[in-house]
């Protein structure tokens, strides 16, 4: 037997031994579903791949599910017994699952955890994973909305600063509208869908209402204002069908002087907008009024059907331990107060970020309610019927209130 042959044999023996050892101790496989990684790398897909490299005992089988499908897919999977171990939902969708016992109660696990600490999370995001005082998940990242404004246009029109009240918002929009150059004063999303509710609910809240109490004086005024803006051409009628991303696209191309949207726009705006822009907090009705804003963002949770709750929790811990990378690498805001966001080097981006972080303190969750989708529909239906003139704002909101009363009571 030659030397090389001996090496070969011992190498094979070694391989057989390690192979045997691995076969005895198969890694636990966990499925994780999230929307991340669809069009560009996101946190969940990146962290899953890293986790798989670091660990031999637990392996993640990561699946990208499109934003529009994730609730449906998970419902179907849960009904047929094929649910994923860990899933990530938009925050208003989370209560649908927690209220039915589809998510695992991780309150006790969090108490013993060194990585996840409840006190570090903002109140709004934390509320969206809480049901009956127990915690069923952790916020993944968060966002909110404010007003982007075109500084060049404001300067040209001789307006001092961005609007602080809705009356100023309307007046500025009127002053900045320039049909000859295809410029609208403002753009927002009043679409028949979750985005519509996302943008309109803060106005209900800052006028003293809530998702359970929508027919406030302020909400009626707000609808009347939005309708005036559309009727007078200060905002395009297309705000009724545009989503936030497309609506803000018209701002970036210089066709609108103000846009209501969130921090997810910043990176594209830095690239696309060839003018000076800034962000300000969502206006209020009267100066000194209590502020409010929408709370966006996703949560992560373990489904109650999992066979490996401890291992799944370890995955959550790993994801949470990487939260400080959310903003620098993915542009997402961590839902935690204990993370300092580093400067990016782009002044506009850093300024915008500071505004959104302040705005986050006023952000309120949608719900949590297991039938949030129906409540949300009542709200955006009312908004749309008032803005199209099908009903007076008061009648539209009264109709929504009747529908909501039937759901929450």
């Amino acid at each position: 037997m030659s030397y090389t042959a001996k090496t070969l044999v011992s190498a094979m023996a070694l391989a057989a031994m390690t192979g045997g050892a691995m076969a005895q101790d198969d890694p636990v496989t966990l499925t994780v579903w999230s929307i991340d990684g669809d069009d560009r790398p996101g946190p969940s897909d990146t962290f899953s791949a890293e986790f798989n490299e670091q660990r031999d005992d637990i392996q993640i089988d990561y699946r990208i599910v499109a934003f529009d499908d994730i609730v449906n897919e998970t419902l179907r999977a849960y009904a047929t017994g094929n649910a994923p171990d860990i899933v990530s939902f938009d925050n208003p969708d989370f209560a649908l699952f927690t209220s039915r016992g589809a998510m695992l109660d991780i309150t006790d696990m969090i108490e013993e955890s060194d990585v996840i600490n409840v006190e570090n999370y903002f109140e709004g995001p934390l509320n969206s994973v809480t049901w009956d005082g127990r915690i069923y998940g952790i916020p993944k990242y968060t966002d909110t909305i404010g007003v982007f404004y075109n500084k060049d246009m404001f300067e040209e029109a001789g307006i001092d600063g961005p609007p602080q009240t809705w009356a100023e918002f309307e007046a500025d929009a009127e002053a900045l509208t320039d049909p000859a150059n295809n410029v609208y004063g403002a753009v927002f999303s009043a679409r028949a869908g979750e985005e519509g509710t996302f943008q309109f609910l803060p106005l209900i809240q800052m006028s003293g209402g809530s998702y359970e109490d929508v027919n406030t004086q302020g909400a009626q005024e707000a609808l009347a204002m939005m309708k005036r803006m559309i009727d007078n051409g200060w905002a395009s009628q297309d705000v009724l069908s545009l989503g936030q991303w497309d609506a803000t696209g018209t701002f970036n191309s210089g066709n609108a002087a103000m846009a209501i949207s969130g921090p997810w726009e910043i990176d594209r705006m830095v690239d696309d907008a060839d003018f000076e822009w800034g962000v300000t907090l969502l206006p209020v009705f009267e100066e000194g009024d209590e502020r409010s804003s929408a709370l966006g963002g996703f949560n992560l949770g373990i489904m109650s059907t999992t066979e490996h709750p401890e291992e799944a929790f370890e995955v959550l811990e790993y994801f949470a331990s990487q939260d400080d990378r959310l903003f620098p690498e993915f542009g997402n805001l961590p839902a935690r107060s204990d993370i300092e966001l580093p400067e990016t080097g782009t002044p506009e981006k850093d300024e915008a970020l500071a505004v959104f972080q302040e705005q986050l303190q006023y952000a309120q969750p949608r719900g949590p309610h297991p039938e949030w989708q129906r409540i949300s529909k009542a709200i955006y239906d009312a908004m749309q019927s008032a803005l199209t003139g099908q009903a007076e704002p008061e009648a539209a909101l009264a109709q929504a209130q009747t529908t909501i009363d039937g759901i929450v009571n």
């Binding site: 419902l75 589809a102 295809n182 297309d238 066709n255 129906r374 529909k377």
Partner: protein, 300 residues
């Protein structure tokens, strides 16, 4: 034993096997889902009981609640506008094109073939393209209409409640045009030429030839085309999410999209099923017309 085998290889048994296979296929893939859907419309369906068959009985509650919705009347009206607008548009323009291509001119057949492009395109793609054409501020159609001087202010096809259902109907007419034209062309070619020659000799002008020969001879084809048009229009779904999403304020919402919204946006599968069962009644009527109008076709 042998007799049974013989009958299967050469006789009644063979026919039965063939019919049986087709029936089994139909029952499994169309019949059972249909029954499941009808059953669901009478039950209380929870998103977490989707997988089970036995669920609490709800009687007619789902139907009552669907009809009690404030948007019910509007959606019914829109469905009518969409279905009849699409059918009339498709048949009228399709018939005109079919007649046009019956004329003998160079490349008539090739150009007619090119029209089929619209028919093979997926609805979502057609919807996205029409979405750009019909866009308000920077839409193609608005630019054309403005440069021709037909309109001077922007028409918000997708966002104006008076226009939105027509926006989707226009897109659907375009989508179904080629199919209608093709079926009608086949019908036209089946009319014997000598009828026209005889009529011409008798001094009938073009209008008389059309109304007393073409139309009567095309009756069964037209019936079939209209019935198929009704069915295809009622199942047209892709254009709605791609162009208007039923908005604004349900002004372009139709029954088929509403059923989807109930089931997959509000997760109320029973109500979605109830809407689709109501639509089923119309489709059954249309199928009856279709069967009736094609009864003269050769039967074995």
């Amino acid at each position: 034993m042998r007799r049974i085998w013989n009958s299967i290889t050469d006789g009644m048994g063979f026919d039965l096997v063939l019919v049986g296979l087709a029936m089994a296929f139909l029952v499994a893939l169309a019949g059972l889902p249909l029954i499941y859907n009808v059953m669901m419309s009478f039950q209380e369906v929870d998103m977490f009981t989707l997988g089970s068959l036995i669920r609490p009985w709800a009687g007619l509650d789902n139907y009552r609640e669907v009809i009690a919705q404030p948007e019910f009347g509007l959606i019914l009206r829109n469905t009518g506008v969409f279905v009849f607008g699409s059918m009339i548009g498709q048949v009228a323009i399709g018939f005109a094109l079919a007649l046009f291509f019956m004329l003998k001119f160079p490349f008539a057949g090739t150009i007619r073939g090119l029209f089929l492009v619209s028919w093979v395109m997926p609805g979502l793609v057609v919807g996205a393209i029409w979405g750009w054409i019909l866009a308000g501020d920077f839409g193609v159609l608005n630019a054309i209409l403005k440069s021709l001087g037909i309109i001077d202010s922007t028409m918000f096809w997708k966002s104006d409640p008076r226009l939105s259902i027509w926006a989707v109907t226009i897109a659907n007419i375009w989508l179904g045009l080629a199919f209608n034209m093709l079926l009608l062309s086949v019908g036209l070619q089946a009319i014997p030429r000598d009828l026209y020659e005889a009529a011409e000799l008798d001094g009938a002008n073009a209008f008389w030839r059309f109304s007393s020969i073409t139309l009567p001879m095309m009756r069964s084809t037209l019936g079939a085309v209209l019935a198929l048009g009704l069915i295809y229009t009622l199942q047209q779904f892709d254009l709605f999410p791609a162009i208007t999403e039923g908005g604004p304020a349900n002004s372009s919402n139709v029954a088929q999209y509403w059923a989807w919204q109930w089931s997959f946006q509000l997760f109320d599968f029973a109500k979605g099923a109830a809407v689709s069962v109501m639509m089923l009644i119309f489709v059954v009527l249309a199928s009856a017309v279709y069967v009736w109008s094609t009864r003269h076709e050769v039967r074995g």
